[in-house]
């Protein structure tokens, strides 16, 4: 498998899509951070780096999806996967080598985001929650990046043809939609207190139980479900509200194992052309 990995990295280094994703993430991360910090400094606001630093984390999955879809699809459209099998590599080796390549590329794209965001350090200082807080959130990001790589490799290698690229990217949006829906439900406050405006005055209403608030077992289920979505974890990192880091990492492990083992089993039986 070492040979396949070397070959994949050789190709990745020359892959225009990889460098495009890497460059766009690096540039966006740096430029947005610079303008956000400059605006806040001009307004005299005392902001902390983490308030902006994790803003781009949601978009990482999209770049991972685009890269994985294009990189893996080329193996089918250009027929090069045949060279690997005809050269005597097992399907298991081919699958795992692609998974590790997609993972490495996704982590490098993530590194571009992390590096770009550091533009804010000379302007507003380091993270308010310190390096430990930074590492804590980055660890979750690494976890869901591994899950993304497993899901996109699964789809990219099991679907072939032109529709595969679209399917991988659409899957990212489906995951995003699912996670956003769960997050919206979980974000409902337990009590609602509102403002009542009458003809003469404005009155504050007392706190009342919010009928849309979900509690008990269903809430626990939705929290776990949110952790199962890599996009759900991304939302939590962006909002600096990771509910349970250990559970999130355990979910990443579960998702990665399920998609990789399932992918290996299905890829073993797939008729290639």
């Amino acid at each position: 498998m070492r040979n396949l990995l070397r070959a994949n990295f050789f190709r990745m280094r020359r892959d225009e899509m990889f460098w495009t994703c890497f460059g766009v993430v690096l540039a966006c991360s740096a430029v947005f951070m610079f303008f956000w910090c400059r605006e806040d400094l001009s307004l005299g606001l005392a902001v902390k780096l983490e308030e902006y630093y994790f803003n781009m984390v949601m978009a990482l999955g999209l770049f991972d999806a685009v890269f994985a879809a294009m990189f893996l699809n080329a193996e089918y459209t250009e027929g090069t996967i045949r060279n690997k099998l005809a050269a005597g590599h097992t399907r298991r080796e081919v699958y795992l080598a692609h998974f590790l390549t997609v993972l490495a590329a996704s982590l490098l794209i993530m590194a571009a985001w992390l590096a770009g965001g550091c533009v804010g350090i000379p302007m507003i200082g380091i993270w308010g929650f310190g390096l430990a807080g930074w590492a804590h959130h980055v660890l979750i990001a690494v976890g869901f990046t591994v899950s993304f790589a497993a899901i996109f490799t699964f789809l990219g290698l099991l679907l072939s043809g032109r529709h595969a690229t679209v399917a991988v990217v659409l899957t990212y949006f489906a995951l995003l939609l699912g996670a956003a829906t769960v997050n919206n439900i979980l974000s409902e406050p337990e009590f609602s207190s509102g403002i009542i405006t009458t003809m003469d005055e404005i009155q504050m209403a007392g706190p009342e139980p919010n009928p849309r608030y979900v509690s008990g077992t269903l809430r626990t289920f939705l929290e776990v479900l949110q952790d199962f979505f890599p996009t759900g974890q991304a939302i939590q990192v962006q909002n600096l509200s990771v509910l349970s880091p250990l559970r999130a990492l355990a979910c990443d492990l579960g998702v990665t194992a399920a998609f990789t083992l399932g992918g290996l089993a299905l890829f073993e039986r797939k008729d290639l052309r």
Binding site: R2, N3, L4, R6, A7, F10, R11, R14, D15, E16, A74, E78, G79, T80, I81, R82, N83, K84, L85, A86, A87, G88, H89, T90, R269, D271, L272, R273
Partner: protein
């Protein structure tokens, strides 16, 4: 006999179609094996099974004596190079980068030999030009170069002349002959361009609807396709006496049938047979090409 590839009742069924049905074939070491069949006859399916792209539904095959179902088949495949359907090359890479990529896949310790391979296929001057800007012939040659990386001694080429111009076809033909003669590489070529194949092949396998119809050496085929007169007589005993006396080459097909080769003076032969008391019942001139031989074999009604 030393066989590089043997298949035994190899079968591949898809959901609704039977692509290969109990196919048995033998590719001898050192041969250029022409695998002939119509479109959809099962040629590419067989190649896919050999290359490990698909699994057979039934039957077995062995590569260098190693069974297709054994764990060691992956090692045996390392001695093989293949171009299946279209050349398997990265279009965004140059010819040299494609070869370097294949060297890495094979785990070769250095890139030594890349230049020689490019020269062998006539792509040494392509420089930084990417494969997407290559002509079809250049891509085909690059595909063969990629298949030749790792110095295989068995090369599988699926329709290598497809889409090539006449000059490209000649170039590929010369390359295959050179590889076979100079490097002793056994070659399996699937094709339906029979005229082209007849200039290369030392052995033929004719496939139709997933079945092997016939395996034959080029020598045997030449003999069968030779210009001859097919005679049906009351008895071949007087016929052989007359033919021997006239010094003619012939072969006896049955008690009443024989083939006579070479230029035949029909009047002279008829008179001699009449004098010997041999009655001629029918006389036909036969001169088959590979194409007509194949059509007769599979029953026509389609394109080879």
């Amino acid at each position: 006999m030393d066989f590089v590839l043997e298949t035994n009742d190899l079968t591949k069924h898809y959901k609704t179609t039977k692509a290969l049905e109990r196919l048995t074939m033998h590719v001898e070491k050192g041969a250029i094996y022409g695998f002939v069949g119509r479109n959809g006859a099962g040629k590419t399916t067989l190649i896919r099974l050999i290359c490990g792209l698909q699994a057979p539904t039934g039957g077995s095959f062995s590569l260098y004596g190693c069974s297709g179902s054994s764990r060691d088949i992956h090692r045996a495949r390392r001695r093989m190079g293949a171009v299946v359907e279209t050349p398997s090359i990265y279009l965004s890479m140059t010819a040299e980068q494609n070869l370097r990529q294949q060297y890495q896949i094979l785990g070769l310790p250095s890139y030594e030999g890349v230049g020689e391979l490019l020269e062998l296929v006539g792509l040494q001057d392509t420089g930084r030009k990417k494969a997407k800007n290559f002509s079809l012939g250049m891509r085909q040659r690059l595909g063969i170069a990629v298949a030749l990386a790792g110095d295989p001694d068995f090369l599988i080429l699926d329709e290598p002349a497809n889409g090539l111009d006449p000059q490209g076809i000649v170039e590929i033909r010369e390359l295959i002959l050179r590889l076979n003669r100079e490097r002793q590489i056994t070659v399996l070529i699937s094709s339906h361009i029979l005229d082209e194949l007849s200039r290369l092949a030392t052995h033929y396998g004719f496939i139709d609807s997933g079945h092997m119809v016939q395996e034959i050496s080029a020598k045997e085929l030449d003999a069968r396709c030779r210009k001859r007169i097919h005679l049906t007589v009351n008895s071949t005993r007087p016929l052989t006496a007359v033919l021997d006396k006239m010094g003619m080459e012939y072969s006896i097909c049955s008690d009443t049938e024989a083939d006579v080769y070479g230029p035949v003076q029909v009047t002279e032969l008829t008179l001699a047979l009449h004098a010997a008391g041999c009655e001629i019942r029918s006389i036909h001139e036969q001169n088959e090409s590979l194409e007509s031989y194949f059509m007769n074999l599979v029953g026509g009604g389609g394109h080879a």
